[in-house]
Symmetry: C2
Subunit: 449 residues, 2 copies
Amino acid sequence: MTSPPRREFAGQTLGRFVAESSWADIGPDLRHEAKRALLNYVGGALGVSGSRVVDAASRVVAPFSGPQTTTVIGRPERLDLMAASFVNAIAANLLDYDDTHPNTVGHPTAPVAPPLFALAEQRGLSGAALLHAFILGFEVECRLGNAVQPDHYNRGWHITATCGVFGSAAACAKLLGLSAEQTWTALGLAASQSASIIENLTTEAKNVGVGNAARNGLLAALLAREGFSAAPAAIEGPFGWARVSGQEPMMEEIVGGLGERWELPKNTYKPYPSGIVFHAIIDAALELRSRLNLTAADIAAVTVRGDQLMLDRGERPIDSERDARVSIHHSAALGLAVGKAGVREHTAPVVFDPQIMALRGKVRAELADMPPWSASVTVETVDGRTETATVEHARGSPKAPMSDADLEAKFRDNAALGGSADKADARIAGIWAMEETADLAPLLRSMGA
Amino acid sequence: MTSPPRREFAGQTLGRFVAESSWADIGPDLRHEAKRALLNYVGGALGVSGSRVVDAASRVVAPFSGPQTTTVIGRPERLDLMAASFVNAIAANLLDYDDTHPNTVGHPTAPVAPPLFALAEQRGLSGAALLHAFILGFEVECRLGNAVQPDHYNRGWHITATCGVFGSAAACAKLLGLSAEQTWTALGLAASQSASIIENLTTEAKNVGVGNAARNGLLAALLAREGFSAAPAAIEGPFGWARVSGQEPMMEEIVGGLGERWELPKNTYKPYPSGIVFHAIIDAALELRSRLNLTAADIAAVTVRGDQLMLDRGERPIDSERDARVSIHHSAALGLAVGKAGVREHTAPVVFDPQIMALRGKVRAELADMPPWSASVTVETVDGRTETATVEHARGSPKAPMSDADLEAKFRDNAALGGSADKADARIAGIWAMEETADLAPLLRSMGA
């Protein structure tokens, strides 16, 4: 990137960075990580493509959709770019089973990938162009998140949506070939559309926030292209996004080392659609199950040990699927008795299966001096054996990243849930081959029902 | 309204109020004021219907518009409900020539009227139904604004947009016949879509904020109807809209005296498309012009006296139309030499007319101990006369409201600017007759080009 003019605002620096970035600047590791993020994105949306919320979202926006240019992942209907971006972003993030950027605890791909898929399908763009735009959008949203975390979230802003709209705007600006000035203008236009609050986190208003981030970022880029203006200081000015949202941004996090350090390699993927703090329990329980060849009938008692955060979040009666996704007891029971903890194992038929309910009743949680996100599980069997497994770095955490094969298996699991197991291999292969694909339209069109 | 259950949240109280309100509860003064607000709304949008920003907004959203059910005011194209709401709200507020709610200094009608016009046109609803929904939406947004003003605006939130989305949601919920629970859910869904910042106030990102408030309020109501959920405490909860935006809301302002005291009667309308603090200057100058039969050639010197706020805001070089709209010198020059201060008199041909520029050069501003929003103007003529006029309550201010005839004249002025002078009388008559109109569709369809 050329050296910055004096007194440049953050949005302007980001705008230049995005507009001037060339594909040759992007190394193979970044490119590969982008494909991993997109594989995880598509799989997540496929898994819930038939869910009530996705149905309702599509039903609400369909009457406000222009030409049906865009595939809705895993579904038969087609919508315009905006409407499809809204629905696909909601699907991708619906179960919080999408990716997690550890430093911000945001889910960065859901607001960014959908409008890129939409533009690429409509215009027959190349995989390289899409991956490049995705990497840059991801970078912009995570840098803005880093600049205000953890206070932004703690204050009550749902960071996936509030920063996601900037990521979507930056990515769409790149894919549309906007100039540096148009790109920072798009970021400024995003700043006036950044919204979503934590009070609504356990409701479907949260999903609307994520869907809006995706479509409004695209809107910002399109408006900038048509000459709409925005303030250059819209991010950090006295009445800009960061300060109006309640805090002084850490500017170095936004503009330091652009093109040198990247956020995408820090991205993580969940192996289980449950709260991240419970993943070590599942892993430890799975290990015991395979070590002892367990079935539910073998188990007399279970003790789970973890830190205070785990106990605070995870000891609760289970009245709903949502409860099961943040339960110590259900996590342990799944690992020990089912040997699997995917989306299906967090739905009602399993959550309220009498055998699983009985096993949950045998699980006791205990405070232990352990690092966050780690757990140990001790099982006593009816025939008198006692065995403990301890997991410090749960699968999917930064020090134990999911392998490509893990991500493929997760994709297949999701595809089966969504009823498209037969198409999973072709779709997986298509995503891995994106970089060499000159026209993405056929692949993206094939993502429908 | 039935008495509130214990521990009801503000959104729930508002939701019940809106859902339970009956047209018979709405007195004739309120009904008439609603028509005045809508007359002013339509006129404002007509005046700028051919402007660059409205053109660009329509061009950007047209490709994302479904069935063309909705008139864009003063324009030939038709769009779907969402897209037309976006464009019409932008047009209505473009020059800040729309209405002003004095306590919040917000512009309440622009985000609320457009989706109501859209729904009424599509469904052939009655004028009474539209007026009723409008009055309730106006009430909700202004009450929320009252609960957080003046800190909300001072902190950097553009209150027209941030509260407007609640007004739009409440009004649309009423017009769609939603239940009390669906209505508070719509308000909760609006809380996750409330956005727009003051840093962007002098840019077109501001217009996007107002357009989004209109369309996203409609989206909130439609999502609530389809069963989307939201938090009951989304307004005042620990991580609800008010606190996340930075402050403790004044709850009594939201829920006190519902159905007894109303905000709409406090609404004001601008006679001139310039900053409200300059209106007294124009009035005083107009009075001098008529008293002395002035032309520009008669004037040797002009002194304008006002308070510090007026001087802070109004002493500036004039490089653009925007500057002219907040200029002491241009305001005085228009009143004295042109005898008119409408939209046309704030556009380049007049702003950069050499005679007007010369006259501005003769205007001096002076600090005086005067109440806010008042002014005195002293003119010295080339033949040696000196005359002063003082205006304490400018035309259009709460103590000197514009009459119905004033609003009609403003409408005709706007219509002429937008090229539809010939249709003005019919449209004015149609708006005054709204209450008795069983099917608004023909009237609303006639508002296009």
